[in-house]
């Protein structure tokens, strides 16, 4: 049976910034419901926090326990299911809780394994209370492959001030890997890094950066900003 996903593709191609802007959602009234969606975990790796292991799938054990899901206002247009403001939360075995919202989620009922998300906003809270938040303009989640392809304005923030900026990220939740074939930039209290590509595997245990890698750090692990005036950013290529 040939499935015509034409309607589906059209929707996906519409860039996020042409989407009608939702009224700003205050984070606190996010409704706490869940469905099995993975949240991206950031590990803050080594070498004076040389890098931020972005968007690593958190759970050691998968699938996470399902918390709550709220499909938001659901509409069916042809074969495309549209969910406005879906929200979901849950937690996994080691006590890491996560909440993910999106401005919109689209799913073709004839090919339900793929969910297209727009304006994603996910937060992961680790058992010790530290939080990592990931926002991205667009994402495509494949529930069978358990992969999430994020694109456009991906920003990762950890509550110690670390931040990472990516243009695209392919997350493989089963393997716990994140690959970005476009330039990345990250800042942590202890260091800064820039590279053309990034490949983080084994949940952050192994990281490979290639192409014009620039790292700034202090050998004693202290913060870059303490003693020296911050150098102006050479190319604020990515969104701040």
């Amino acid at each position: 049976m040939h499935v015509d996903t034409g309607a589906f593709d059209g929707l996906k191609a519409v860039p996020a910034w042409q989407q009608p802007r939702r009224q700003p959602r205050s984070w606190h009234d996010a409704r706490r419901h869940s469905r099995a969606v993975r949240v991206l975990r950031i590990g803050l790796p080594a070498l004076a926090l040389l890098t931020v292991a972005w968007l690593i799938v958190s759970a050691r054990a998968f699938p996470p326990t399902i918390g709550n899901v709220d499909l938001g206002e659901v509409g069916l247009d042809g074969t495309t299911l549209t969910m406005e403001n879906p929200a979901l939360s849950g937690y996994n075995e080691n006590g890491t809780s996560y909440e993910v919202t999106a401005a919109r989620a689209l799913q073709d009922v004839t090919n339900p394994r793929i969910v297209t998300l727009q304006l994603i906003d996910g937060t992961m809270t680790k058992p010790d209370g530290t939080k990592v938040r990931v926002t991205a303009a667009d994402g495509v989640y494949d529930s069978e492959e358990q992969t999430l392809k994020l694109s456009n304005d991906i920003v990762v923030r950890a509550d110690d001030g670390s931040r990472a900026f990516l243009r695209s990220a392919d997350v493989d939740m089963k393997a716990g890997s994140i690959v970005s074939t476009e330039p990345i930039r990250a800042e942590t209290p202890g260091g800064r890094i820039r590279a053309d590509t990034m490949d983080i595997a084994e949940r952050g245990a192994h990281m490979l950066f290639k192409g014009k890698v620039v790292v700034e750090l202090r050998l004693d692990g202290g913060s870059l900003d303490d003693r020296t005036a911050r150098k102006p950013q050479e190319n604020p290529a990515d969104v701040e």
Binding site: A48, P189, M207, V213
Partner: protein, 176 residues
């Protein structure tokens, strides 16, 4: 004893270091990171070029549970033709090791120190970052004690008043 002839190797731990390379691979399990391909390390006006730089760090693991960074670099190993220059002095060798804990920097292989027309050759240059003292050693091939440091020192051209000493330096043998 070539005291502070080459203090250029000084690298302090609380001033930012900038490392550029074609590639960086981090192995968090054994706390090492390897920069490879046209590696350039800069700090202040000191720079080092090498083919590969292996960085050993300590401090908490990949995910610093709440604790602040605390990632400290304990050792740097540069291999594959090392070229260091600082304030007009250059030093080349086959490898270099920076021990942050002991504050010792060792440049090894065929070491050549040069400043202007002055050239010193040896097999190992050891610089103590704390005392600023550096010692150029030339182990004789047969390893029979101190070797002879071959050097060409032209009085006055070293800039600061440099006491010229040549001849056997029986402080041979390497420190590590």
């Amino acid at each position: 004893q070539v005291s502070d002839a080459f203090s250029g190797l000084a690298v302090d731990s609380d001033t930012p270091v900038r490392i550029e390379a074609d590639q960086l691979e981090v192995f968090d399990a054994d706390k090492t990171a390897v920069f490879s391909g046209n590696v350039v390390v800069r700090q202040g006006d000191t720079s080092m070029r090498t083919a590969q730089l292996k960085v050993f760090y300590s401090g908490d693991g990949l995910v610093s549970e709440g604790a602040s960074s605390g990632q400290r670099v304990s050792r740097l190993e540069a291999t594959g033709k090392v070229l260091i220059n600082a304030k007009g002095q250059t030093a080349t060798g086959d490898w270099a090791v920076f021990e942050m804990d002991t504050q010792l920097v060792t440049l090894g292989g065929n070491v050549v120190l040069s400043q202007g027309k002055n050239v010193l050759r040896g097999t190992e240059l050891v610089v103590n970052l704390e005392t600023g003292q550096s010692r150029l050693v030339s182990a004789k091939p047969e390893g029979t004690g101190g070797g002879r440091v071959q050097g060409l020192l032209i009085p006055g051209s070293m800039g600061q008043k440099q006491e010229r000493r040549q001849g056997d330096d029986n402080a041979g043998g390497t420190t590590n």
